[in-house]
Symmetry: C2
Subunit: 213 residues, 2 copies
């Protein structure tokens, strides 16, 4: 498999963690978002949306959208499950993942920040406020849903890392880059620390990618 990724893309970071947790072999093909390679004709032929990540699972078949890719990997590759066995558990884990993937990350990715500062002429301080506002909204929800919930364990759901954790950790990485105050989220920080102790998460970290600057 070939993962088209970019070291700092948090959606790609999710897929790297999933591939590592499953112990799957993959090659990485860096798509420089800074150089605009995601809008080049070569990449658009693979992923018409022009976003990373994309995963070529076999010749001519390339999947896009990080959560759809992770669900595919979980269906096709046995081994550590990334979703719990029961439907209510899966609904909980998917909801936690979607808070990151639908309600935080889309508002703070680079194309949106560019629109704010470029087209709308928002200054650096207001851009930071925007970033931190959506982080705080989303992480407050996550903390409320995880704290003292009977299904929360060492990880977001039980004692093994899964779909919710592989969304949470890259989101916290982003939050730290933008110096967000994480003190109000002790449950999230404890889960994050347990994830960071695992090789699958460490090897997926942006700093450890071949294209890290």
């Amino acid at each position: 498999m070939i993962l088209y990724d970019y070291f700092r893309s948090s959606a790609a970071y999710r897929v790297r963690i999933a591939l590592n947790l499953k112990g799957l072999d993959y090659q990485q093909h860096a798509v420089s978002l800074v150089a605009g390679e995601q809008r080049g004709s070569e990449y658009l032929a693979l992923n018409p949306q022009g976003l990373v990540p994309a995963l070529e699972v076999r010749d001519g078949i390339t999947l896009s959208q990080s959560l759809a890719i992770v669900e595919y990997l979980d269906e096709v590759h046995p081994g550590p499950a990334l979703l719990p066995p029961d439907s209510l558990g899966r609904a909980r884990v998917r909801a936690l993942a979607d808070i990151v993937a639908c309600d935080i990350h889309p508002l703070n990715n680079s194309r949106v920040l560019k629109y704010l500062t470029g087209t709308l002429g928002v200054d650096e301080a207001a851009k930071l406020d925007w970033y931190r506002h959506w982080i705080a909204q989303g992480l407050t929800s996550l903390e409320a849903m995880l704290h003292e919930h009977p299904a929360t364990g060492s990880f977001c759901h039980g004692e093994e890392p899964g779909l919710a954790d592989l969304c949470l950790v890259p989101q916290l990485y982003n939050a730290r880059r933008f110096e967000c105050d994480l003190a109000p989220y002790p449950t999230l920080l404890a889960i994050d620390a347990r994830c960071q102790a695992l090789e699958a998460f460490r090897e997926a970290h942006p700093d450890n990618q071949p294209d890290a600057g």
Copy 2:
């Protein structure tokens, strides 16, 4: 089941379509987003995130996040499947759904528009440009992924409506409300028309909800 919804919430609209396609009975409990009821303590006890929709599937068990709810309904209630039987097909359908749910809708919902006009002081014209920009970006991607793709049929994937369609139709409803030019998306419009012909979609339409103004 009790669906906590709001007639104009496009995420709630998705879940209404899914419930109707499955032929499931449900009561509706309107949560007025205009009156701020989603942030009231009563609703927050059900859904700590304070967003609609939420679905109480049985006493004391309430699910949140529209896509997680639809996946749950598809797992638990047999009948017309909302996802295809093969993993590659499911990955395609989930990616199409996520383009709407992660890359278009989160940028254009009411809390974000309020931040733009309120906190950032963006004027009405610039707000409309923002709205239409993200609609155009996302719908262009969807059109590229659906047009002439061998798996596209009468609906986004094959000959039965499913998860991708129930995300697409509410997104097009929003696009029309904000008078976006939809001419560049003939494949999307054709699928939308086929969906609108179905009772499950018509009954889920915002205009046909008890709380429609």
